[in-house]
């Protein structure tokens, strides 16, 4: 559904992606993680046709996103971190924008607005940041677009809304829909995103399913500081050290996204070796 091959992208002289390749398939809710400035937003913009790659091939649903073909656009919904909503009420907005999406589901839209408790009689530009976001999420899901790109979707949402968001996105994740969530708020995404993609220094350094992570990595708690090179990653905690190791004994331990992210970013070579078949526990 999304195929990127050897893509380079730069902002004037600042190179962002070098020879990046990525293949994403429908039926998944991908988590796109990366440090600040790693290029998560830019990658989403390239996929949606808001930015054009310098070289390489980008195909989304067999379209070149940069051409912004209407057939392509009606099947993609991008929720950016900063967005604009006009001074229209929800009903008027639906009447104006929904006809552009032939598969728009009006009942679903109203159902989601009601679930998010959004006012129908208020102009959209007077809603709070979180309410605007909930409105756009509702519209996006109701548009029935097959590709759903969300940039920091839980930023600005209150705690109950984050729970609602997770539930709604989980139920929207059908087998022919591809959802990509770019986020820093990894804790908000636990039990939602799978697989996980991590971008760093212009490359995709990790693209694995949760099952793969559980099979290949294990988390343990030890009291002594680990010796260099014996673990993939270690983190000091109040009562000892949390360490990440290659899962040689086929343990079934859960690794939280924050620890996974830190492991991948601090020890990409070690992780690569573990996931490519080796089982070295190398510590940076």
């Amino acid at each position: 559904m999304i195929n990127i091959e050897n893509m380079d992208f730069a902002y004037k002289k600042t190179k962002l992606f070098l020879n990046l390749s990525l293949e994403l398939k429908p039926g998944n809710i991908y988590g796109l993680l990366g440090k600040n400035g790693a290029g998560k937003t830019s990658l989403l913009k390239i996929m949606s046709g808001l930015l054009f790659p310098n070289t390489g091939k980008v195909k989304v649903n067999n379209f070149i996103p940069g051409q912004r073909n209407p057939e392509f656009l009606k099947d993609i919904f991008f929720l950016p971190e900063e967005y604009y909503l006009p001074g229209l009420k929800a009903e008027k907005y639906k009447k104006t924008y929904a006809p552009f999406y032939p598969n728009f589901n009006e009942n679903k839209f109203l159902e989601l607005l009601s679930e998010f408790k959004l006012p129908m009689d208020q102009k959209l530009n007077s809603l709070s940041y979180g309410q605007k976001k909930k409105f756009l999420i509702s519209f996006g899901i109701a548009s029935n677009s097959r590709i759903f790109l969300l940039d920091e979707p839980t930023n600005g949402l209150d705690i109950p809304s984050k729970t609602q968001f997770r539930r709604i996105i989980a139920s929207a994740g059908t087998e022919n829909r591809l959802i990509i969530i770019s986020t820093h708020q990894v804790r908000d995404m636990e039990n939602l995103i799978d697989p996980i993609i991590i971008v760093d220094e212009g490359k995709v350094i990790f693209n694995e399913s949760i099952e793969g992570v559980t099979n290949k990595l294990t988390v343990k708690k030890i009291s002594e500081e680990p010796v260099n090179g014996t673990v993939l990653y270690s983190e000091k905690e109040i009562d000892g050290y949390k360490v990440v190791l290659a899962n040689k004994d086929h343990d079934q331990t859960d690794i939280d996204f924050e620890t996974l992210f830190n492991t991948v970013v601090t020890n990409p070579d070690g992780i690569k070796s573990v996931f490519s078949g080796g089982d070295n526990n190398e510590h940076n």
């Binding site: 808001l50 912004r68 656009l73 991008f78 900063e82 604009y84």
Partner: protein, 264 residues
């Protein structure tokens, strides 16, 4: 290539509706203000002993060029702000439809609304003036040849401001005027230099021919009546046929190239 991917009447209509609706409040406020100002001017003129015969034509000209070119300059404001550009560029319509919708609004749309508006306002205002002052200004005639010639000139001027609206991120109107001024100045200098070189034997000083200084008079140049009229005809054809299609085409390609770059 599927033609519906470039233009679909249904989508274009929907886009036009959306583009008009998104500026409807500003448009209505502007229309109300213009109506009030026009009536005030017409009432003051009618109150004077000699009502004007040219009032509405002058108002129409100012509205068409002043208002129309300012409106055209702002017609692509949406693509120059990150938040609005994302929303607009990802709207499921083709680049051509996005271009064409704004072109229709700022050309035929604006010109016709101004034409109909000034006509209606002139009839209403002068009706009121006749009742109050027992005299009225000459009504606006939307069918006169000069009005339609003016509208054709508007399309030429509009095309330059349309390109400016797509090209410049800020201060579209002022920047377009500056560019037009610079282009005009450049053409003038090149033409003057060309004349100075080609007709060097006519010049006494650097730009002086006989008693005429600075300005070169056409009739002082060794042009025959035929060649002069041929030159004027050619320039007229170029004026009517080249700038508008050229600037609109460049604008379309520019819209296709727009990216939302100011974020990582």
């Amino acid at each position: 290539m599927n033609i519906t991917n470039i233009i679909s009447p249904r989508r274009l209509l929907q886009l036009l509706k959306r583009d008009i609706l998104s500026n409807i409040n500003t448009t209505l406020i502007a229309f109300g203000a213009v109506t009030a100002v026009i009536y005030l001017i017409s009432a003051i003129t009618a109150y004077n002993s000699a009502p004007s015969g040219q009032l509405y034509f002058t108002l129409f000209t100012n509205l068409l060029f002043g208002g129309g070119l300012i409106v055209t300059s702002m017609v692509f404001k949406e693509i120059h702000r990150k938040e609005t550009a994302q929303n607009y560029l990802l709207l499921p319509a083709s680049n051509f439809e996005k271009f064409f919708s704004r072109l229709l609004i700022s050309t035929i749309g604006f010109a016709l609304i101004t034409l109909v508006g000034v006509t209606v306002i002139s009839y209403l205002s002068e009706g009121v003036n006749t009742l109050i002052f027992k005299r009225h200004n000459v009504l606006f005639n939307p069918f006169s040849k000069i009005v339609w010639t003016l509208m054709a000139h508007y399309l030429i001027a509009q095309s330059a401001f349309f390109l400016g609206a797509v090209y410049f991120r800020k201060y579209h109107f002022i920047k377009t005027i500056n560019v037009i001024f610079l282009v005009q100045l450049t053409i003038t200098i090149i033409t003057a230099l060309f004349a100075r070189i080609v007709y060097f034997d006519l010049f006494d000083g650097f730009f002086k021919i006989g008693n005429t200084s600075l300005l070169i008079q056409w009739d002082e140049l060794p042009l025959t009546a035929n060649s002069f009229s041929y030159l004027v005809k050619t320039l007229k054809i170029l004026y009517w046929l080249v700038p508008a299609p050229l600037f609109w085409t460049i604008s379309y390609f520019r819209i296709k190239e727009v990216e939302v770059k100011n974020a990582i």
